[in-house]
C-alpha cells in the first residue's frame, strides 16, 4: 500500500453492509422483472460501453453484455447500494469468464497486482497539448492499452465513476486505481506523443 493513500477521499469509509431497500416479501416474478428493468437497465449503455472497450469488438461485446445482464438478474437480490457500479462489476466478471474461455493467452498477468507501477516522476513533456490529438489515434491508443489500465481509464473518463466505485469494480485498492489511472494516461500520452513526433518529423523534413 502506498504511504500517501490516506490523502484520498473515501479511503477509510466503512463498508456499507445493508444500505439498500429491502426486497419486497411478496414480489411476483413480473414485479421483480419490472424492478430490475427500472433499477438496472438504465445502465445498459454503460454496460455495453465497458464491454465494447474490454473486448474491442461489437460481436463479443454483445455476448458479454447479454450474459452479464442475465447474470445480474439472477443475483439481483444481492444488489447493495448503487446499481451502476454493481452492474459494471458483473460485466467485468462476465468479460473475464469470456476471456478465459476464448482468449486464454490474454488473461496472463491481468489479475496480477505485481504489474502496478507507482508514478514517480512528474508528468513530463510526453503529455502534450492534448486538445490537438487526432480522434482516431486517441481511440487506437486507448484500445492498445493493457487491460488493467484500459478498464480504469474507461471507467473514470467515460463513465465518470469515483475511485471508490472503480476500486470495487476492478477489485483492487483505491491506491491501485490511482496508480493505474496515472499509468494509463501516461501510456496514452506516450503513444500519441511518439506518433505525432514521427509524423512531425516527416512534415518538417
Amino acid at each position: 500500500m502506498l504511504a500517501a493513500d490516506s490523502a484520498l477521499l473515501h479511503e477509510t469509509d466503512p463498508v456499507a453492509l445493508h444500505d439498500t431497500d429491502p426486497v419486497p416479501l411478496h414480489e411476483t416474478l413480473s414485479e421483480r422483472k419490472r424492478r430490475f428493468e427500472q433499477w438496472v437497465l438504465p445502465h445498459f449503455d454503460a454496460a455495453y460501453n465497458l464491454a465494447r472497450w474490454l473486448t474491442r469488438n461489437d460481436h463479443d461485446a454483445q455476448d458479454v453484455v447479454q450474459e452479464a445482464v442475465l447474470r445480474a438478474y439472477r443475483f439481483f437480490d444481492g444488489l447493495r447500494g448503487e446499481a451502476k457500479p454493481w452492474l459494471l462489476s458483473i460485466v467485468r466478471n462476465s468479460f473475464l469468464t469470456w476471456l478465459h474461455i476464448n482468449r486464454p493467452a490474454e488473461t496472463v498477468g491481468f489479475d496480477d497486482g505485481a504489474i502496478d507501477l507507482i508514478p514517480t516522476d512528474a508528468d513530463g513533456p510526453e503529455i502534450l497539448a492534448a486538445r490537438s490529438f487526432d480522434r482516431k489515434m486517441l481511440n487506437e491508443a486507448i484500445a492498445a492499452l493493457p487491460l488493467q489500465f484500459r478498464e480504469v481509464l474507461i471507467l473514470r473518463e467515460l463513465e465518470d465513476l469515483s475511485y471508490k466505485d472503480i476500486a470495487r469494480i476492478a477489485d483492487v485498492p483505491i491506491g491501485t486505481v490511482m496508480s493505474r489511472l496515472a499509468r494509463a494516461r501516461r501510456l496514452v500520452a506516450q503513444s500519441l506523443g511518439a506518433t505525432s513526433n514521427i509524423s512531425g518529423t516527416q512534415v518538417h523534413k
Partner: protein, 259 residues
C-alpha cells in the same frame, strides 16, 4: 510537499478525489511551481481530450430489446421464491387447487418449527461463531484492526503473550502472499483471546486463537458473506474469519495448520 508527492497526487487532484487538506497543500505547491502547474494543466487537457474524443459505445437498441426479452418473468424461473406456491395464480391448473391448503399447512408447520428453533438456546459453537464474526465486523466498521501493528511475528507474539495467559503461535506466511499486519486482543466465549490479523490484497483475515482442551473437528462455515473456518492444533483452537474467497481462505488455513 515534495515535488514527487505533488506529481503523484496530481491525478487524484484533477479527478476531484483528493481530500480537502491535501488539495490545499497541493494548490499551494502549484502556486509556487510553474512547471508542476503546467504539468497539471497538460493532465487536465489530456483527461478532457479523452472525455471529448474517445468513442462512447451505446448499446444497439435491438440488443437491449433482445436482453429484455431473455429475462425470465414466468414461473419457469429456477430462482422462483417459495411463497409463489401460496399465492393464487391464474396459470395454475385445477389439479393444483388441492395443493394450496396442503402448502399452507406445511408453511404453518415450518414457521412453528423455525420459531421453536429460535427460542432454543444456541449451541456454544453458534455463539462463538456470532462472537468472532461480530468482532471481525466491528473491527472493519471502526477501521481499527489491531492494537499492535507489525508485520514481524517476533513483535506481535511477545506483545500478545505479555497480555494473555497463553502464548499464541504466530506464523509468518508472507512468502505465500498472506502478510501479517498486526494483532489485537478480544473477549470471546467468556475469555480473553488473541486475534492475529493477516492481509491478502485488500482483504483482511482475522485469526482468533485460544487454548482448547479437545481436538475439535475442522469445519467450514459461511455467514453473511463472510467465510469462517475453524480447526485445532497443539492445544490451540483457531477460528478464521474473512471476506476472502473460500478457495483462498482454504489455502490460508492449510498453511496455518501445517505443522
Amino acid at each position: 510537499m515534495t515535488r514527487e508527492e505533488a506529481a503523484r497526487l496530481l491525478h487524484a487532484y484533477i479527478d476531484g478525489e483528493l481530500d480537502p487538506v491535501k488539495s490545499l497543500e497541493l494548490e499551494a505547491h502549484l502556486a509556487e511551481n510553474p512547471s508542476v502547474r503546467a504539468a497539471c494543466e497538460r493532465l487536465r487537457g489530456m483527461s478532457a481530450a479523452i472525455r471529448d474524443k474517445a468513442d462512447y459505445h451505446p448499446a444497439p437498441a435491438w440488443l437491449e430489446a433482445r436482453v429484455r426479452a431473455a429475462i425470465p418473468a414466468g414461473p419457469e424461473n429456477v430462482s422462483a421464491p417459495w411463497w409463489r406456491w401460496l399465492k393464487p395464480a391464474g396459470s395454475f391448473s385445477a389439479a393444483a387447487d388441492w395443493l394450496r391448503p396442503a402448502a399452507s399447512f406445511a408453511a404453518v408447520a415450518l414457521v412453528t418449527w423455525v420459531v421453536a428453533l429460535g427460542t432454543m438456546r444456541p449451541s456454544e459453537d453458534e455463539r462463538i461463531t456470532q462472537e468472532v464474526l461480530a468482532s471481525h465486523v466491528r473491527a472493519t466498521l471502526a477501521n481499527r484492526f489491531y492494537d499492535v501493528a507489525s508485520s514481524d511475528q517476533h513483535t506481535v507474539k511477545p506483545w500478545l503473550s505479555a497480555r494473555l495467559a497463553f502464548s499464541p503461535p504466530v506464523a509468518d506466511l508472507s512468502a505465500s502472499g498472506f502478510e501479517l499486519v498486526g494483532g489485537r486482543l478480544d473477549y470471546i466465549g467468556a475469555q480473553p483471546v488473541a486475534v492475529l490479523v493477516y492481509k491478502r490484497r485488500q482483504h483482511l483475515i482475522d485469526v482468533f486463537v485460544w487454548p482448547v482442551e479437545a481436538q475439535k473437528t475442522e469445519q467450514t462455515l459461511a455467514h453473511d458473506g463472510f467465510n469462517i473456518e475453524r480447526f485445532a492444533r497443539n492445544g490451540m483452537g483457531f477460528w478464521v474469519v474473512s471476506d476472502l474467497s473460500r478457495n483462498e481462505l482454504d489455502d490460508f488455513v492449510r498453511l496455518l495448520a501445517a505443522p
